[in-house]
């Protein structure tokens, strides 16, 4: 009887999911409620987790609840600690959830809500969750080895080197693109600049509190830090209304970029306890709280989506970023669907905390589902805005016209009516002077979030406070990625340089710290500066480049996973990673090819460089007013093209090397040899496994 009830329950979930997806996909002409997206997401995740992840665990990975994990065998009380599955889930989710699932879907909303939503759901259930789960399980079986080490051991030494280069490249581009988002969010915004600026002394104060006043009371310090941040938001309003203070905090893009570069250097070189650790705690606290509030807000308000299912920009003429829906929607939305970066976390600290093998399913597959849901929330937040306002905020001046008047005419002519008065009113309602040309996704997401929050709590009187809360939340997120990423990059460069000259490899030797920090900051700072000079907004070229890097890293992770599956003698199940791998290869290779060679200068980097080279200097000055340093801009385009091409070749090498391994093993020409840690029986055998 119970079994029959279960069957009916899952059939009901499947039916509701199918109905929701059909409504999202086929509804045209009139606006739909956001709850259809939420229902489709929840049903897809429930079915994916209950059936697909169970199949992966039982048939593909053959997870063994009797096998001791490295956390048990190598327990040292530091890195290797058998930990409660819910704690590991929280840890893992806090590490994988960053600004990516918020920004990517907001940018992809230019195609309408449909492509991004479908990709987030299908990409997560069949790609991202699978990647995170399988890499985590394989790392657990290999004493918590990193992706690079597994690539070297299981595929080839070349693959290991490629993984290293892919990781460092993605870090550099990621840090540049997230810095650019901060610059665009805080440019000419005294309220935002003050609030975010205050988070630095607040983090330092938390560091001192934790070290000297109440050692180890992190939750207490985080709550205190959160209260101070809320006060900083209120203070920001006061600053923005004071003429003298507002002038001080009204910063240009160049000033903000210089300050962020300085900050990145300081965060990398300063002691961890003083800035990095407390900021990480504060950011995690705000992040978890805000995601919960946003989810509750959407469920309470049940907003209507203003954006159509599909826009005219699926043909590649979009103003937010150029490129058609295939392949660009699939590299723009990375973290909510599949992100190579997650494989670093799945083969980092998490595998060293897993107490029982079957728990990798809940942690790996489950945490990615939660991240994907955050991506759906971001799409909803962006699509609740009037499309005209969405495009006015997210388009660069180079795409829609140099003045707000020109921009509203262009956007209205596209069929998304918007007026200057409406934009002024919107800007005024959130305490900003203007919201035109605020590319990067963060301001648009903050607007959507403020709309949902103020509808559920406080009304329109507090919209400005919610907007700046959302901006602070996003920037705090991003600054945490920035300082953690710069430091990780510094360690990687130190490790690499240590092979050339041993003292450079000493992580605590100050000359090495300063030199390597400067190298990493200079690398991402260069791309940030380049994005800032771009009249198309910078995001247009940098976000696709970041998406390509991220998805190429996912391709490397899936190559490693497929190779191990084949070597385990389970080649009949290799499709579970091979299919997402084929899709990613198709997407990233097409996107890279188009970014390099497309004849449209808005898409193709080389075509854009040629266009600049052939442009008449006088005409160019009249068009953009920023063409004085043409040679440098041409060089930047060509540099971006070389970076994309270089990564493409590297990943092609890994794919070919992996494919050769599969063919050799499947045809029997080569004896499969996997590098798993030997089986040791767990002492938790009598306990409930998962």
């Amino acid at each position: 009887m119970k079994r029959v009830a279960k069957v009916f329950l899952w059939m009901a979930v499947a039916a509701l999911g199918a109905l929701s997806l059909a409504t999202i996909a086929w509804h045209r002409g009139e606006a739909i409620n956001a709850m259809w997206l939420v229902a489709a997401a929840l049903c897809s995740y429930a079915l994916g987790y209950r059936f697909y992840s169970k199949f992966l665990a039982a048939k593909v990975l053959t997870l063994d609840s009797l096998r001791a994990t490295p956390a048990e065998r190598l327990e040292n009380g530091r890195d290797f600690i058998p930990t409660n599955k819910w704690y590991v889930f929280g840890h893992h989710f806090a590490a994988i959830a960053g600004p990516g699932p918020l920004v990517g879907p907001v940018l992809a909303a230019q195609f309408g809500y449909l492509p991004g939503t479908l990709w987030i759901l299908a990409g997560a259930v069949f790609g991202g969750c699978v990647q995170d789960f399988i890499i985590l399980a394989f790392s657990v079986r290999r004493d918590g080895k990193s992706l690079g080490q597994m690539a070297r051991d299981e595929v080839s030494k070349v693959a290991g080197t490629v993984a290293f280069i892919a990781v460092i490249s993605i870090l550099i581009i990621l840090l540049a693109v997230v810095s650019l988002i901060i610059v665009n969010a805080l440019r000419s915004s005294p309220w935002g600049a003050f609030t975010v600026g205050m988070t630095i002394p607040i983090a330092i104060l938390m560091g001192i509190y934790l070290r000297y006043l109440r050692p180890g009371k992190v939750l207490e310090a985080s709550i205190l830090g959160f209260i101070l941040v809320l006060l900083a938001i209120l203070g920001g309003q006061w600053v923005s209304q004071s003429p003298s203070l507002a002038n001080i905090f009204t910063l240009s893009g160049a000033t903000l970029a210089a300050l962020i570069i300085l900050y990145g250097f300081a965060a990398s070189a300063l002691p961890v306890w003083l800035l990095l650790a407390p900021r990480d705690y504060l950011s995690t606290f705000v992040k978890l709280g805000t995601i919960v509030i946003l989810t509750l807000g959407i469920v309470l308000v049940r907003p209507t989506l203003q954006m159509p299912a599909l826009t005219r920009f699926i043909n590649g003429t979009g103003p937010v970023f150029a490129g058609s829906v295939f392949p660009f929607a699939f590299i723009t939305v990375a973290c909510g669907a599949i992100s190579g970066f997650h494989s670093l976390i799945s083969s980092g600290t998490t595998p060293k905390m897993i107490a029982r093998e079957p728990q990798t399913r809940m942690v790996g597959y489950g945490a990615m589902m939660a991240e994907s849901l955050v991506g759906v929330m971001a799409i909803i937040a962006a699509c609740t805005l009037q499309p005209g306002a969405y495009f006015a905020v997210n388009s660069g001046a180079g795409m829609v016209g140099q003045t707000p008047q020109a921009a509203v005419v262009t956007i209205t002519n596209w069929g998304f009516p918007v007026t200057s008065d409406e934009m002024d009113h919107l800007a005024g309602s959130v305490g900003e002077k203007t919201l035109f040309f605020r590319t990067g996704g963060a301001p648009a997401f903050a607007l959507g979030m403020a709309k949902i929050f103020s509808a559920s709590l406080g009304g329109s009187a507090v919209t400005a406070l919610w907007y700046h809360f959302a901006i602070m939340f996003e920037v705090l997120f991003i600054l945490t990625v920035l300082d953690a990423g710069t430091r990780v990059g510094r360690f990687m460069v130190q490790d690499a340089l240590g092979h050339i000259w041993e003292p450079m490899g000493r992580t605590s030797w100050y000359p090495s710290i300063l030199v390597t920090s400067a190298l990493v900051v200079a690398a991402w700072g260069y791309f940030l500066w380049q994005g800032l000079q771009d009249p198309l907004g910078g995001i247009n070229s940098l976000w696709p480049l970041f998406g390509i890097c991220n998805q190429l890293l996912a391709a490397v992770a899936l190559c490693v996973a497929t190779t191990i599956i084949v070597k385990m003698g389970r080649a009949r199940y290799m499709w579970v990673t091979l299919l997402p791998l084929c899709w990613l290869v198709a997407v990233t290779f097409t996107a890279s090819w188009q970014k390099i060679f497309h004849s449209n200068p808005l898409i193709g980097l080389l075509a854009h460089a040629n266009q600049l080279a052939n442009s008449h200097p006088l005409a160019a000055d009249q068009i953009a007013g920023q063409m004085k340093d043409l040679p440098r801009r041409i060089f930047n385009d060509r540099l971006d093209a070389v970076v994309a091409g270089f990564l493409l070749v590297l990943v092609a090498v890994v794919v070919v090397e992996s494919a050769l391994q599969w063919i050799s093993v499947i045809s029997g020409r080569k004896q499969a040899e996997i590098k798993e840690a030997p089986f040791v029986s767990t002492r938790y055998a009598t306990e409930e496994p998962a």
């Binding site: 009380g77 530091r78 890195d79 600690i81 930990t83 409660n84 819910w86 704690y87 889930f89 929280g90 840890h91 806090a94 590490a95 994988i96 959830a97 960053g98 600004p99 990516g100 870090l171 990621l174 997230v178 934790l210 070290r211 000297y212 050692p215 180890g216 009371k217 992190v218 939750l219 985080s222 002691p271 961890v272 306890w273 990095l276 650790a277 990480d280 705690y281 995690t284 606290f285 978890l288 990375a334 973290c335 992100s339 970066f341 997650h342 670093l344 976390i345 980092g348 600290t349 945490t480 990625v481 953690a484 990423g485 430091r487 990780v488 360690f491 992580t507 970041f546 991220n550």
Partner: protein, 58 residues
């Protein structure tokens, strides 16, 4: 009511783990020390490398 209490108990424990409070408690147990400025400094020194090499996803 009991389920709700259990839920909040687990939630608090998860937060303590995420915010490294449990890691500090384990450190105190392992080193037979008590919570103090000095022991927390040692704990942070021990975790410095692992924290600083831990990436945060995008």
């Amino acid at each position: 009511m009991r389920t709700l209490r259990e839920f909040f108990k687990t939630l608090l424990a998860v937060l303590r783990e995420i915010f490294d409070e449990n890691a500090y408690q384990r450190f105190l147990l392992r080193t037979n020390s008590v919570a103090s400025v000095e022991s927390y400094r040692q704990f942070q020194r021990e975790r410095e490398t692992s924290m600083a090499t831990k990436p945060r996803c995008c």
